[in-house]
Subunit: 282 residues, 2 copies
């Protein structure tokens, strides 16, 4: 596996592959890999001639009070995991490499970016869309792999790729979970032991909600209150949001008539966690 | 020359060229060609294996009171001119093809977009940057050719290409002028005969200002007043702006210490015209 730190170096490496028409799979990440990342890499390796992973903790998607400076990093372990997954190239640019001067070009995806996490993280999805646009132009992949845990992020990026005609396919892969159901996240490492145990309530409440909907419950407010109640009972966390939104436009739903995403963000004293369940009506 | 109307059709046409590593030159236009467009096409034809021209009157870069509905069109003449210039493919998508649904993704280039034409045409450069991002992703050219008459547009697009790492070079080609100095523009056809005659005052005033600066004048306000006076004396037009700005960041300059762009927009009763001169200090 090649470790490449510059845009020019990466382009030089990929030049021959673009021209040979090799299928390039791409997994954009912020590093500190877990099995969720590995599942994206493995799928890309299976489906492409070569897989490129980017590892870049993108400052412009963090708010001023967020965890940019303490975001966990372990390059050596990350490289070993990517290599074991069959990744051919890992691209690890510096902030200076990605943003050599003050950035004045921004990509924004309206509407989809506004609710859910967008409401409490203003500018977050603009930072995400912008860095992903840059990475797509740098890597020029055939297919990009994203995790379903960040459901809103995946939808924002899919919309950007479609609206701006990026010549890439976007594949969203299932959330990988710990044994007790907790969605894998690099931020789980922030959790204190008691928080970690309590955190299983998030997925537990979502699974129960999904079951309720599939059993016929159509009142979104009832679903939401039940989730909130379960989480408040089982954790000391504060709830940022629990929402039941249309799976197509992320707009809040009162009466469930079509596929919905139930999504939540919860603040533990040590970490903010998100999770979601897509409910496809049968 | 092939006339292609769909994105998929164009991609199918270009696929083999991308893979063979042929150099693709690209000239984005709104049609109604004049010798300025032809000079861009000719340069692209000289420097590349194949030249693609897009012809799309982009609605999202027009303000609600602007000339979108009456923007001049003559497809047959345009195709003949492009063919004669050696263009291989002309891409003429419909509005529905470029914007199949309401666009929610926008590319904005701050700072550079704000002054000059950006001040009186809010949203204009956002519309331009967004459609050019789409076209770059559709055509995937090696080099894109733009005209210097739209100096601010060229700078906004260059900045976008750089900031978002589009894998394309941008070449800005000199303004082509009528015999009396009027910068060629599709909008010149709006001018009544007397306006057309008076319109030569714009370039005349700009040439004189350039000469003054190169002869040692360093007071931008003096330069600006002299241009305004000349134009007001010789035309019945109202001046939207006459500005002397830094050639690198388009910020207004009072004392000329480095390269500047002198740019203006003037509203005749029948048409809004722009022109500029770049002054490189020796």
């Amino acid at each position: 596996m090649k470790v490449i730190k510059t845009i020019q170096g990466l382009r030089r490496e990929l030049q021959a592959l673009w021209q040979k028409g090799e299928r390039i799979g791409f997994v954009p990440t912020m590093g500190y890999f877990h099995q969720g990342h590995v599942s994206l890499m493995a799928r890309s390796v299976r489906e492409n001639d070569i897989t490129v992973v980017s590892l870049f903790v993108n400052p412009v998607q963090f708010g001023p009070t967020e965890d940019l400076s303490r975001y966990p990093r372990d390059l050596r372990r990350d490289c070993a995991m990517a290599k074991a997954a069959g990744v051919a190239v890992i691209f690890i640019p510096s902030v200076k490499e990605m943003y050599p001067q003050e950035l004045s070009t921004w990509v924004s995806v309206n509407a989809l970016s506004e609710g859910l996490c967008g409401a409490s993280r203003p500018g977050h999805f603009k930072g995400v869309a912008t860095v992903v646009a840059k990475l797509l132009n740098i890597v020029q992949p055939d297919t990009m792999y994203l995790g379903a845990k960040d459901a809103q992020q995946a939808m924002v990026i899919k919309k950007m790729v479609c609206d701006l005609n990026f010549p890439a396919r976007v594949v969203v892969c299932p959330t990988v979970r710990e044994r007790d159901g907790l969605a894998m996240s690099s931020r789980n490492m922030y959790l204190k032991p008691d928080e970690r145990i309590a955190a299983k309530a998030l997925s537990g409440a979502l699974f129960a909600a999904k079951k309720d909907i599939l059993s016929g419950e159509r009142n979104a407010l009832k679903i939401i209150s039940k989730i909130k109640k379960l989480i408040l009972e089982e954790t000391g966390a504060s709830i940022e949001y629990v929402s039941c939104v249309s799976a197509t436009d992320l707009k809040p739903v009162r009466r469930i008539k079509a596929d919905v995403l139930i999504a939540l963000a919860v603040r533990f004293p040590s970490a903010r966690l998100i999770d979601n369940q897509l409910v496809i009506l049968r």
